[in-house]
């Protein structure tokens, strides 16, 4: 069950609260001397995969589940807590935690030289609290308990009898939690309290971090990483340098001595640099004290070939850290790229592409794609579309009550108005030029529905749409049609989703989503009199029963009565755990696809925490409906990390899906897409 967990190198834990032990005598709530800003550290621990821990600040922007996010405010501002060696075994969840002082002064001292008696205490302001499963979790080896913001709060004490100098990191302390096997997840929130010198006000602090934390560069190539400086009452220059670089590797920072909050490091690798992995550091010197953060450099030989895979347009966090290819049935080969572009050769038998994207807190996703040569070489495989940019447009609706759900779409941007909160909405990334605005008022109480279409809208950036009044003169009642659904097995839950395709670019505008109530139902859409020739309805029907789900989408200009027939149910695949080593979970799925899904198929599994695998294959590559997909053994390839896939002992969910061939255009009369999914547990 043990699995190493890294937090330091990914810059994980951080953010702080500092409560100085001695404070002003005044009872007035004045701004504290010698203090502080503070952000709580929220940690989510999972028992799956041998034990994982993700920590971050609690911020409004944070996603549910409190995944760590490096860029959210305050991260690494005053203190950075980092953990390593996280494991769950025999009812004990354990992790080693250090405290790094990012403040310009020493911690645990009142005068700057004499250690304070209190030490540096990391206390639990909330939790451990069970968020998954049942049972109780407790801190097993706390240094003690104290009254900080409530009574009996456990704490771990660091640097007892010693200062923690600016820029220094404490020795590691083992944190242990008693976690019964019935608990799958728990969370806790910690703050830090320590004594700081009185005479310095305000607190000065500097945090240094980088993203990504690892670069893969071919000889003769270069790569970049963004350096972030988190400043607290400190505006001075920070002189940056690259440490630990081997001969032939150089780094340049732009700017080299930033007075702002960021710099870009470009690492250049000479042609003579031997392939391998090099631990580097990014060092900063300033009057706020020395700072350092780690950077891993992997040097490997560049590839060439008839396939080009381009991650360069992806956000940095979504770029591959490891790529491999398989030509036909030949062994997999590690591919190194330049500036996030990879080249390799695929012959007439087709082949595979595998890549790994890592996230914060050891999260990793592995993607494997099997295709024909023609599919691989049809053009550069751009992994991420260019980021959406466009105008921001505001508006408001009228004629919509609390039980109405208006949806407004313009140029592919969509906003849903929750009328019980506000009648206003904002559309972002709206392309410039004329676009057709579609607004639809769905009733959640079976009341009358209403629609508005405004053609050829080209509203200025930050402009305002005139009020959309669903009871106004431009509004019209939707058309309706009776839809019959074929292929149901009985007992399924069936839902419908109606979209409307408009404009020369066949842009999607959402209308509504709802349950059908059975195999025959009424769909709503745009009356013919309101349509132009390029408009199309896109009706999607979902049917799910247990672990099976199917859907069908059909595109039609007119909304008329019709029958839609679902594809077949994907049979439950045979899931096999392939032999180990390697020391990670290798699953195989064997199944026969129903003939409705002769486009592509995929098999994926995840550990329920932060490790996932997705393997897909086109029907052209497979050559038939009999399908066997499995995660290959990549452990012998350079740069591979056995911690990327789910651990050998992990449990989680698998999913198999199939899809028909995607229509060339959604604005094609009668174009139909069918898909199905089945899932289960491993």
């Amino acid at each position: 069950m043990l699995r190493t967990f890294r937090l330091i190198d990914t810059g994980v834990l951080s953010a702080v609260v500092l409560l100085v032990a001695a404070c002003a005598e005044s009872n007035a709530p004045t701004a504290p001397k010698n203090l502080f800003r503070s952000e709580m550290i929220t940690c989510q621990a999972s028992m799956s995969g041998g034990g994982t821990l993700t920590c971050g600040e609690s911020q409004a922007q944070a996603s549910a589940g409190m995944n760590f996010n490096l860029v959210l405010g305050g991260q690494g501002a005053l203190v950075r807590l980092a953990s390593s060696g996280t494991a769950y075994s025999a009812g004990i969840f354990s992790t080693n935690v250090t405290v790094e002082n990012l403040i310009g002064q020493p911690m645990n001292t009142a005068d700057g030289t004499t250690p304070d008696a209190g030490g540096i205490k990391v206390f639990f302001s909330s939790g451990p609290t069970v968020t998954g499963g049942t049972g109780t979790v407790s801190v097993a080896n706390a240094t003690g308990t104290g009254t900080f913001t409530g009574v009996n709060q456990p704490y771990f004490e660091y640097n007892t009898g010693a200062l923690l100098a600016s820029g220094s990191t404490s020795s590691s302390k083992l944190w242990q939690f008693t976690v019964p096997g019935t608990v799958t997840q728990f969370t806790f929130q910690v703050f830090v309290t320590t004594r700081l010198p009185d005479e310095v006000s305000p607190i000065v602090a500097l945090g240094l971090s980088r993203s990504p934390s690892a670069l893969t560069i071919s000889p003769g190539g270069s790569g970049t990483t963004s350096v972030t400086l988190t400043r607290t009452h400190f505006t001075g220059a920070v002189t940056l340098s690259l440490g630990g670089a081997p001969s032939g590797v150089t780094g340049s920072f732009s700017p080299a001595a930033p007075t702002g909050n960021s710099s870009t490091l470009t690492v250049n690798v000479g042609l003579a640099v031997a392939p391998g992995t090099y631990p580097l550091t990014i060092d900063g010197t300033s009057t706020a004290g020395p700072r350092s953060t780690k950077l891993t450099l992997t040097v490997a030989t560049a590839g060439s070939g008839n396939v080009t895979v381009d991650f360069s347009s992806c956000p940095v966090a979504e770029r591959a850290v490891w790529v491999a290819a398989q030509d036909g049935a030949n062994p997999w080969t590690r591919i190194t790229g330049t500036a996030d572009v990879y080249n390799f050769t695929i012959g007439s038998s087709g082949g595979g592409l595998a890549y790994v994207v890592v996230g914060a807190s050891d999260a990793a996703s592995i993607t494997v794609q099997y295709r024909t040569k023609a599919e691989f070489t049809a053009g550069t495989l751009v992994q991420c579309p260019p980021p959406a940019t466009g105008k921001t447009i505001n508006g408001d609706v009228a004629g919509a009550g609390f039980t109405d759900r208006p949806t407004i779409s313009l140029g592919g941007s969509e906003a849903t108005v929750f009328t019980f909160l506000s009648s206003t909405f904002q559309l972002t990334d709206v392309p410039d030029g004329n676009q057709d605005l579609v607004a639809y008022r769905q009733s959640l109480a079976n009341g009358p529905e209403s629609a508005i279409i405004r053609r050829a809208q080209n509203i200025a950036d930050n402009g305002t749409i005139a009020t959309l009044d669903f009871n106004g003169v431009e509004a019209f009642a939707p058309a309706t049609a009776t839809i019959t659904l074929g292929g149901l097995l009985g007992g399924e839950q069936v839902n419908q989703n109606m979209s409307y395709q408009v404009g020369a670019n066949c842009t999607t505008a959402g209308l509504y989503f709802g349950a059908t109530g059975g195999a025959t139902f009424t769909a709503s859409g745009i009356p013919s009199i309101q349509q132009v020739g390029t408009d199309f309805h896109a009706l999607t029907v979902f049917a799910s029963l247990g672990n099976d789900s199917r859907f069908i989408t059909q595109y039609n200009h007119d909304l008329t009565a019709r029958t839609l027939t679902l594809g077949g149910v994907i049979p439950t695949p045979t899931i096999t755990t392939l032999a180990t080593p390697p020391a990670y979970k290798r699953l195989q799925a064997a199944y026969t696809l129903p003939i409705d899904y002769e486009g592509s198929t995929s098999f994926g599994y995840n550990d329920g925490a932060n490790k996932s695998v997705s393997i897909s294959a086109t029907f052209g590559y497979l050559g038939g409906t009999s399908t066997t997909l499995a995660l290959a053994d990549y452990s012998a390839l350079s740069g591979w990390d056995n911690n990327w896939p789910p651990a050998t002992s992990s449990t989680g969910q698998w999913t198999v899906s199939g899809s028909s061939v995607f229509p060339a255009s959604a604005c094609t009369e009668g174009a139909t897409l069918k898909s199905a999914t089945v899932n289960g547990l491993f």
């Binding site: 609260v17 500092l18 409560l19 100085v20 032990a21 001695a22 404070c23 002003a24 005044s26 709530p29 504290p32 203090l35 502080f36 503070s38 709580m40 929220t42 989510q44 609690s58 911020q59 409004a60 922007q61 944070a62 549910a64 409190m66 305050g74 302001s125 909330s126 609290t129 069970v130 968020t131 998954g132 049942t134 049972g135 109780t136 009254t147 900080f148 913001t149 409530g150 009574v151 009996n152 019935t182 997840q185 969370t187 929130q189 609390f402 039980t403 759900r405 019980f420 769905q442 959640l444 079976n446 529905e449 939707p478 419908q496 109606m498 989503f513 709802g514 349950a515 009424t522 709503s524």
Partner: protein
């Protein structure tokens, strides 16, 4: 027309009304029955049956009723007007839920849906509002909403500093003030916020050398009970709001905290004597030892009176 499947927003006002109506009916019936003076009733969170859930029980430890049942911890119950509001972590983060206080398998309804943690709710004396904590800004701060979770709003914007922590709100019986914990002075102390006044919270107990936490305002408005380490081991003290005189209420050898007043002036609190948290009560007007509420095994905390 289409038959959209999105559920209509929950009929919370109706549910609340229904609960109130039931409570009133039961109350009327009970008033015609012989007066047996049943013991006061409390709600609390209890680690029992494999999970931390919300329970209610008489002060004698009898008539225990489990009010919630799900995976994930449920904590910090507060009761008024026939409903219990509490924090649940069943969704992965702290959210406020409500359940009828009479139990009987009543529906548990979610009141908040945010990415932040909503914790430590306290219903106002008239049951129309909830004071609670939200860490939407990055650290827990005092917020208030309607009893159905609507109209959430921060109450202490501009108070303290950005990172100062707030905790443990407790309403004055008049409903116009809230006493709460803040680290605005660097160390946890007690402050009073006057609602609707737009003013800055005023310090009540803000001793730079000691910590004061977990206040509870007495039903008669005269006293605020709180936990403090001002006498060494954390114990419970009472503060006369008019004279600011502080008296030590418990003298336990181990930590005592989480005081909660009952309507009759008795005080329930949590004692860590023996290691496992136990609920105890004492009469503030009578000298004598505390009485442990015999709930059986399990870690019981965060009690609140059922009014």
């Amino acid at each position: 027309m289409a038959s959209p499947g999105r559920p209509t927003p929950g009929p919370w006002p109706g549910v609340l009304c229904g609960v109130l109506c039931v409570a009133l009916l039961v109350g009327c019936t009970a008033s015609e029955a012989p007066q047996l003076a049943p013991p006061p009733v409390i709600v609390f969170d209890w680690m029992r049956n494999g999970n931390r859930d919300i329970y209610r029980a008489g002060l004698d430890g009898k008539d225990t009723v489990r009010l919630t049942s799900n995976s994930g911890d449920d904590q910090h119950p507060t009761e008024r007007a026939g409903v219990v509001v509490f924090t649940s972590y069943r969704d992965g983060n702290g959210e406020l839920y409500v359940v009828p206080s009479r139990g009987g398998g009543g529906p548990e309804q979610r009141l908040t849906t945010t990415t932040a943690n909503e914790t430590q709710p306290t219903l106002s004396p008239d049951g129309r509002h909830i004071a609670y904590l939200s860490d939407e800004s990055g650290v827990p701060k005092l917020w208030m909403s309607g009893a159905d979770g609507t109209n959430p709003q921060p109450l202490t914007a501009g108070f303290g500093f950005a990172g100062s922590i707030e905790a443990s709100p407790s309403w004055a019986p008049s409903g116009d003030r809230i006493v709460f914990v803040s680290t605005a002075n660097g160390r946890a102390g007690l402050f009073i916020l006057t609602l609707g006044g737009g003013g800055t919270p005023t310090p009540l107990v803000a001793d730079s050398n000691h910590t004061a936490v977990e206040p509870s305002w007495s039903p008669d408005g005269r006293l605020v009970a709180f936990a403090s380490d001002r006498a060494g081991v954390t114990n419970i003290f009472t503060l006369d709001v008019a004279t600011l005189q502080i008296r030590q209420f418990t003298t336990d050898a181990t930590t005592a905290g989480q005081p909660a007043w009952l309507a009759d002036g008795r005080l329930v609190y949590t004692s860590w004597s023996g290691g496992t948290p136990r609920l105890r009560w004492r009469d503030t007007t009578v000298s004598g030892s505390s009485v442990t509420i015999d709930l059986g095994t399990g870690d019981a905390q965060h009690s609140a009176a059922v009014f």
